[in-house]
Symmetry: C2
Subunit: 209 residues, 2 copies
DNA sequence: TGATTAAATAATTTATTGATTGTTCAACAT
DNA sequence: ATGTTGAACAATCAATAAATTATTTAATCA
C-alpha cells in the first residue's frame, strides 16, 4: 500500500536525476533542480533518499545491473563455444565501457564517484561479473573444451589479467582498436593455458567477435 | 671542455633536487630553495634545465634506470628456469613499487607527475621492461621450456595482463599479500599457455620467489 | 495525523585578493 | 664575450569572504 506509492516517487526521482545528471553532470545538478523537476520541495527528497549520493548510488546500481544483464544474456546465448563466449564477453565489456566513457561521460562519472565513495558496491559488481565468467568456464569444462581444476579461481585470475580493459581510463589513452587488439592477445594467451589438450590446436586461433 | 663543467653542475643540481624533493616533496621544493642549495641564483638554474619539470624528469629517468638495471640483473642471473625468472621479475617489480609507495612516497610522486606530463617517457620505460620480458621468454624458448611463436608479442601481452600489478597505487585497498597472490595466479594461468608440452606438468606448479 | 514546505543551519564551492613561486631578461661581474 | 644575478613579469597557490548547495527541522497544509 505505502510501498507502491513510495516506489513510484523514488522511481520518479531517479528518472529525473538521470536526465539532469546526463545533461549537467553530478556536481552541477542540485537537489533544488531535482526537486523542481519532480514538482516538490528540496526537503521532500530526503523522505525518499538519505542524501544526494544515495540517488547517485541508485543510478550506479541500475547501470551495473544493465551491464550485468547484457553480459548474462551473452553467457546464456546458445551456439557459441566457451572460448568464443569468453572473448565476446570481455570484448563487449570493453566496448560498453569505452563507449560510455566517450559518449556518456557524465553518467560514467557516477560510476567513478560510487566506486570511490562506496567501494563495496564496485567490488560487488566485479564479483557478479566474475560469477558470469566462472559460468563460461564451467560450461567450457563440461563441454570438454577447457580443463580448469578451479573455475572460481580461474575466473578471478582472468579478471585480474584483464583489469586494464575493465578500467581503461586508469591505465591508458589508447584507442579502442588498440585496446581490443591487446585484449585479444591477452585472451589468446590465457586460452592457451585453459584449453584442454583436445582443443589446444583449435581454440586459440578462433576469431573473436 | 665546456661539457665536463656543464655536466658537473647539472649533476649537482639533480643531486640537490633529489635531497630536497625526498624531504619536502616536489610541490614544496621551490626553485629558490634548490638554487640556494646549489649556491646560485634561481635564474641560473635555467641555464642547465629548461624548467622545474625537466629536473623532475631527470630524476624520474634515473629512477627508471635503477629499476630497469635491477630487473636486468635478475634476467641475467644464472641458475633459474625461465618460469622462475618470469615470476621473480614481476614479483620483484611489484614489491619494489609497493615499497617505494610506502617508504619513499615523495620520490614516487615524481614518477607519477612525469607519467602524466611526459607520457612518452613512461611508455619508454614500459617498452624497456617489455624487452627484458621478451629476453626471458626467448631464453625459455631456447631452453625448450616455452613454446612461444612470437616472444615480442607475448611479452606485450604479459605486460598487459599484469598491468594491475604495475600500478598498485591504483588499488590501494589491496594489501601487498593479496596483490602477490593475484599476480601468482595470473602468472600460473599465463605459464600454462606458454609452457611447451614437455614442461606443461611441472612449471605451473613451481613455487615462486 | 501524515505529508509537505519554507526557512534555518551546516557544509561545500566559488570568487576574489594577496602571497608565493616559476621564469625571463636587462644589468652587472668576470 | 661569457657567466651570473636580482628584479620584473607571468603563473600558480593559499587564504578569505561571499555565494551556493545539501540537509535538517519547525511550521503549515490536507
Amino acid at each position: 500500500m505505502i510501498m507502491p506509492v513510495e516506489t513510484d516517487i523514488r522511481t520518479k526521482i531517479v528518472a529525473a536525476a538521470y536526465k539532469l545528471i546526463a545533461r549537467y553532470g553530478y556536481g552541477k545538478t542540485t537537489m533544488a533542480d531535482l526537486a523542481e523537476a519532480c514538482g516538490m520541495s528540496p526537503g521532500n527528497l530526503y523522505r525518499y533518499f538519505p542524501g544526494k549520493l544515495d540517488i547517485a548510488e541508485q543510478l550506479a546500481l541500475l547501470a551495473f545491473e544493465d551491464e550485468e544483464n547484457a553480459l548474462r544474456e551473452l553467457v546464456r546465448r546458445p551456439g557459441l563455444s566457451a572460448s568464443e563466449k569468453l572473448k565476446l564477453f570481455l570484448c563487449t565489456q570493453l566496448r560498453v565501457t569505452h563507449a560510455m566513457l566517450k559518449d556518456d561521460a557524465k553518467i560514467f562519472e557516477i560510476a567513478q564517484i560510487i566506486s570511490r565513495e562506496r567501494p563495496l558496491l564496485a567490488n560487488q559488481n566485479l564479483a557478479r561479473i566474475r560469477a558470469l565468467l566462472a559460468e563460461i568456464l564451467s560450461a567450457g569444462n563440461a563441454a570438454g573444451e577447457f580443463d580448469i581444476p578451479d573455475v572460481v579461481s580461474a575466473a578471478e585470475m582472468i579478471q585480474c589479467a584483464t583489469m586494464k580493459f575493465h578500467y581503461p581510463q586508469l591505465f591508458t589513452r589508447l584507442a579502442l582498436e588498440d585496446l581490443e587488439r591487446e585484449l585479444r592477445g591477452v585472451l589468446n594467451l590465457v586460452l592457451s593455458g585453459i584449453c584442454s589438450k583436445l582443443h589446444q590446436s583449435a581454440s586459440p586461433d578462433t576469431q573473436s567477435a
